[in-house]
């Protein structure tokens, strides 16, 4: 039985870590982009960002003043049991969100869409979002928090088989260019692409691809991995860098996730995880101990299974 107190304590620590510490994989990717950047203004922006991460870490202050929209991803080991059950877990995550908002502090970003009511704690109807997944043969729980920027850099479109890979390429470029101008998307970004599913799942997949895979990670399907690599290059060939200034620093990495879709369609979503790519993860074991890491390890063979029954690895993930 995982003690509730350790879940809440870990969740509060994750909130602070996500807000303050830029993940190593993104940082290394940004440094590589900085080395290659020839655009003077774009290079200046990246240098300022690198200084900003240092300042945030040193002072223990939020790296970006905009909290984005903090959310939670919870992965349950099949054998995991939580003190108080899932309802208690959700309460603990809401408490951790509210407490961290006051203690870090984080900007209270969440308001009612119509009445603009702000509880000053980043909690409200449907906030923070909590998404769930499961894992076979495990008794731990993974907690992941992501504080993604909330306004620009995301788009969805229903494409069709006739649009083909060219159509996918085109919509990818459209999204990067429209939100890259003036740096509305706060690039260089980790770009996530969702392909397939229905409209809602397509968006979920794309967002998870952006926020829950680390820089350098490739899709296990080698043909999709090749598209990811092609798209990194394509995005950086637009001629646009940080803040939309002339340059080459647009895409730190590109992650594509697929889901089976309607036979007549090919829905696509694009998401950009910004210069403040805020994510933090921990695994909490049955005895309440927590192991922190920056890799969400969200997309597993189990998550990407395509067969009816789950058969241990080796199964082809691609077909």
């Amino acid at each position: 039985m995982i003690p509730l107190a350790s879940l809440q304590r870990t969740a509060e620590e994750l909130m602070a870590k996500a807000a303050i510490e830029i993940p190593d994989d993104y940082l290394a990717g940004l440094r590589r982009a900085a080395d290659a950047e020839k655009g003077e203004l774009s290079a200046f922006v990246i240098r300022a960002m690198l200084e900003n991460y240092e300042a945030a870490k040193h002072d223990r202050r939020a790296m970006c003043g905009d909290t984005g929209v903090p959310r939670w991803y919870v992965k349950f080991g099949n054998e995991a049991r939580v003190e108080g059950g899932p309802v208690a877990l959700e309460a603990a995550l809401r408490r951790a969100t509210a407490n961290a908002t006051r203690n870090v502090p984080l900007r209270p970003n969440r308001v009612h869409p119509l009445w603009r009511t702000d509880h000053d704690n980043n909690c409200g109807i449907g906030a923070p979002e909590i998404e769930y997944a499961f894992h076979p043969d495990a008794d731990w729980i993974d907690l992941i928090t992501v504080h993604k920027g909330g306004l620009f850099g995301t788009d969805y479109r229903m494409l069709f088989p006739a649009d083909g890979l060219d159509g996918i390429k085109r919509f990818y470029l459209d999204t990067l260019i429209q939100f890259g101008k003036r740096g509305l998307a706060c690039q260089p970004a980790i770009v996530g692409i969702g392909l397939g599913g229905s409209k809602d799942i397509c968006s979920v997949l794309g967002k998870q691809a952006a926020c829950l895979r680390v820089v350098g990670d490739r899709n296990p399907d080698p043909r999709i991995a090749a598209i990811e690599e092609e798209f990194i290059e394509l995005g950086n060939a637009i001629g646009m860098g940080a803040m939309g200034f002339v340059g080459s620093s647009m895409v730190i990495d590109c992650h594509i996730e697929v889901g089976y879709c309607h036979t007549g369609g090919m829905p696509m979503s694009v998401h950009m995880f910004c210069l403040s790519s805020r994510r933090a993860c921990a695994r909490i074991f049955a005895d309440g101990t927590a192991e922190f890491r920056t890799d969400p390890m969200w997309f597993t063979d189990y998550m990407r299974r395509s067969t009816v029954e789950w058969r241990a690895p080796a199964a082809a993930a691609a077909e």
């Binding site: 003077e40 203004l41 200046f44 922006v45 300022a48 960002m49 200084e51 900003n52 991460y53 300042a55 945030a56 002072d59 202050r61 939020a62 790296m63 970006c64 003043g65 905009d66 909290t67 908002t101 006051r102 203690n103 870090v104 502090p105 900007r107 209270p108 970003n109 308001v111 603009r116 702000d118 000053d120 306004l151 479109r157 229903m158 494409l159 006739a162 649009d163 060219d166 159509g167 390429k169 085109r170 470029l173 260019i177 429209q178 101008k181 003036r182 740096g183 509305l184 706060c186 394509l234 637009i238 001629g239 940080a242 803040m243 939309g244 200034f245 002339v246 910004c274 210069l275 403040s276």
Partner: protein, 222 residues
């Protein structure tokens, strides 16, 4: 080293000070700035409340942002980071805003169009500074010396209240518009536009179109 020019400005800035700033220069500010975004504009202009205080108290620099801040139990404020919010959304209030606020510097994210600069900024001898990144919230947080006052905290909440901040070497910012209404972003967009056709070569517009869609990649969404 970079050839980007850097300037330090004491606030309030005179028109002569602003005249010296070319688009693309880096600026740090020392003096008083205040935050105001959509709810402040609505409250001050549409709801008729006017400015919460005089120019002496607020300064003449309007920052489109709200801080990551909390009110401590003893009534003082903890400010962690500040990051701008995109300014193009505030266009419709600009005319009235300059009239009642007397601001000559607006700081925000992403700038506005040169058309708006010519209509509203130039006649008011005002310029636009963009934040950098845009996530340099921690660096900006470091530049805040103290919270001089907070107005409309109860009415508008932490994120939308008017925070009056005394700052020192507050920055970096980049000069996006000058006193003639030129825009750095538009200059950069024009340079990038030249190479866009090549990227799309061989592709066709999507099978199903959308209302209002354009294929002119030189356009902007703001």
């Amino acid at each position: 080293m970079s050839e980007i020019r850097t300037a330090h400005l004491d606030l309030p800035a005179t028109t002569a000070d602003l005249r010296k700033l070319a688009i693309g220069a880096v600026v740090y500010l020392t003096g008083r700035v205040f935050t105001a975004r959509e709810r402040v504009y609505q409250h001050a202009i549409e709801e008729g409340a006017g400015m919460p205080a005089g120019k002496d108290a607020l300064g003449a620099v309007n920052f489109h942002c709200s801080p990551a801040a909390a009110v401590k139990p003893d009534g003082t404020y903890a400010v962690s980071a500040v990051t701008a919010t995109a300014s193009f959304r505030f266009a419709k209030w600009l005319g009235d805003w300059f009239r009642i606020s007397g601001c000559n510097i607006i700081i925000g994210k992403g700038g506005m169009t040169s058309e708006l600069y010519r209509t509203h900024f130039v006649p008011n001898a005002a310029i636009y500074l963009t934040t950098v990144g845009y996530g340099t919230g921690a660096l900006l947080g470091r530049g805040i010396r103290r919270v001089a006052e907070v107005y409309w905290l109860k009415e508008l909440g932490i994120a939308q209240a008017v925070w009056v901040l005394d700052v020192e070497k507050f920055g970096p910012f980049i000069v996006e518009s000058d006193l003639d209404g030129n825009s750095l972003f538009e200059r950069e967009n024009a340079k990038i536009a030249a190479g866009l056709d090549r990227l799309y070569e061989g592709t066709r517009p999507a099978t199903m179109r959308r209302f209002g869609e354009t294929d002119d990649k030189t356009q902007e969404v703001i």
